[in-house]
């Protein structure tokens, strides 16, 4: 688990307020991350535009009105090639069906909901460690789906 000194910054985007708050609390309390949560993906994108290098991880729901997770990821990726983008969904996703979309958007990972907060913290921590390693070994390398 990362110490608060490292304070990795995470952006959480989920149109369900309860879920966004739950994830924020879990990542902050159990993972020691510094989390900004958004329920409106449009606001999240505007915030990201003004803070392009603030976040190490963006964790977003897939199906949201206003801007869907794929579009949000595309826009964020245009602004920052290095940020780790993870999508999540409560829908049973056939990853084969979405593989090309995920590749085109350079999504780093997909999390199937429901996920326990304990497991989510472990997953995010793993992605942080892994992406730190990637950037030190090869700044252009990216995890494949």
């Amino acid at each position: 688990m990362l110490s608060r000194d490292n304070c990795v910054k995470v952006m959480v985007v989920d149109d369900e307020n309860d879920i966004a708050i739950l994830i924020k609390k879990a990542l902050e309390i159990e993972g020691g991350f510094d989390v900004d949560d958004f329920t409106n993906p449009k606001e999240a994108l505007d915030h990201f535009k003004n803070n392009v290098h603030k976040y190490k991880i963006v964790l977003s729901d897939l199906r949201m009105p206003h801007i869907g997770g794929l579009e949000l990821a595309k826009e964020i990726r245009k602004l920052n090639e290095q940020v780790c983008i993870l999508l999540m969904s409560a829908f049973e996703i056939d990853q084969q069906d979405l593989a090309s979309e995920f590749r085109a958007t350079k999504i780093d990972g997909f999390i199937q909901k429901p996920v326990s907060m304990k497991n989510l913290v472990i997953l995010i921590t793993q992605f942080v460690v892994s992406s730190s390693h990637d950037t030190t070994t090869s700044s252009s390398s990216r995890k494949q789906q």
Binding site: R63, M64, P65, H66, G68, L70, E71, A90, D97, L98
Partner: protein, 213 residues
């Protein structure tokens, strides 16, 4: 002779009411929209804009109960932003529907929009294939007709607005010879992302335009 005349008169009234109501925009709160749903007739292919999922669920649960229990219709719900188990929960909580019974007998069908419109081998017309199959089931089950609501959100997720327009505009405004009344649903946040021209084309093409506040 009077009976025949009455029948002809009813048919003429029905045909003229279709023409009179065509493209009539309706907007209002959930109670007013519920009334609009209750007033829809078989043949109508309508468009419904909803502001948020809570408001939609309130109307949806009440009207699905009416469709299944009072109208004896087969009901289809194509969901995008809410999972199928969540829709079941809402129908149970708000509509107090015997979901298990209706799903088991095949008169309530809940379907995922991504599978229905985006990832099926039949493409966007997979839902129409499902509807045609369900219309056959209407006859077998002795139902009075079919009621369906389908969220178009998946087209926005995949950013396929052109396909959405081409699909919507390829469907008729009135389902001829089909005992089907249907609503294409759009979340306000999605609908507002289209251009004015695109929105108007969709509004004009549907039989009735209903906007929920």
């Amino acid at each position: 002779l009077n009976i025949i005349n009455n029948e002809i008169q009813q048919q003429q009234q029905s045909a003229s009411s279709f023409t009179a109501n065509r493209g009539r925009p309706v907007s209002g709160d959930s109670q007013m929209i519920l009334q609009q749903l209750q007033d829809t007739k078989h043949g109508e292919h309508n468009i419904l804009i909803y502001p948020d999922l809570d408001t939609l669920n309130e109307v949806m649960a009440t009207h699905y109960k009416e469709a299944l229990e009072d109208r004896n219709e087969l009901a289809l719900f194509v969901t995008h932003y809410q999972t199928i188990p969540y829709v079941r929960k809402k129908l149970l909580e708000r509509g107090e529907l015997d979901i298990a019974k209706y799903e088991q007998e095949g008169s309530l069908v809940l379907y995922d929009s991504v599978k229905g419109y985006q990832t099926s081998s039949q493409g966007v017309y997979s839902i129409m294939a499902l509807i045609n199959m369900l219309i056959e089931r209407v006859k077998k089950l002795g139902k009075s007709g079919m009621f369906g609501m389908a969220d178009m959100g998946s087209f926005f997720l995949f950013q396929r607005i052109e396909q959405l327009l081409s699909y919507e505009l390829s469907l008729p405004s009135i389902w001829d010879n089909m005992k089907l009344r249907s609503f294409c649903m759009y979340h306000e946040g999605d609908f507002s992302r289209m251009t004015e021209q695109e929105r108007q084309a969709l509004i004009d093409h549907h039989y009735k335009y209903i906007k929920m506040h």
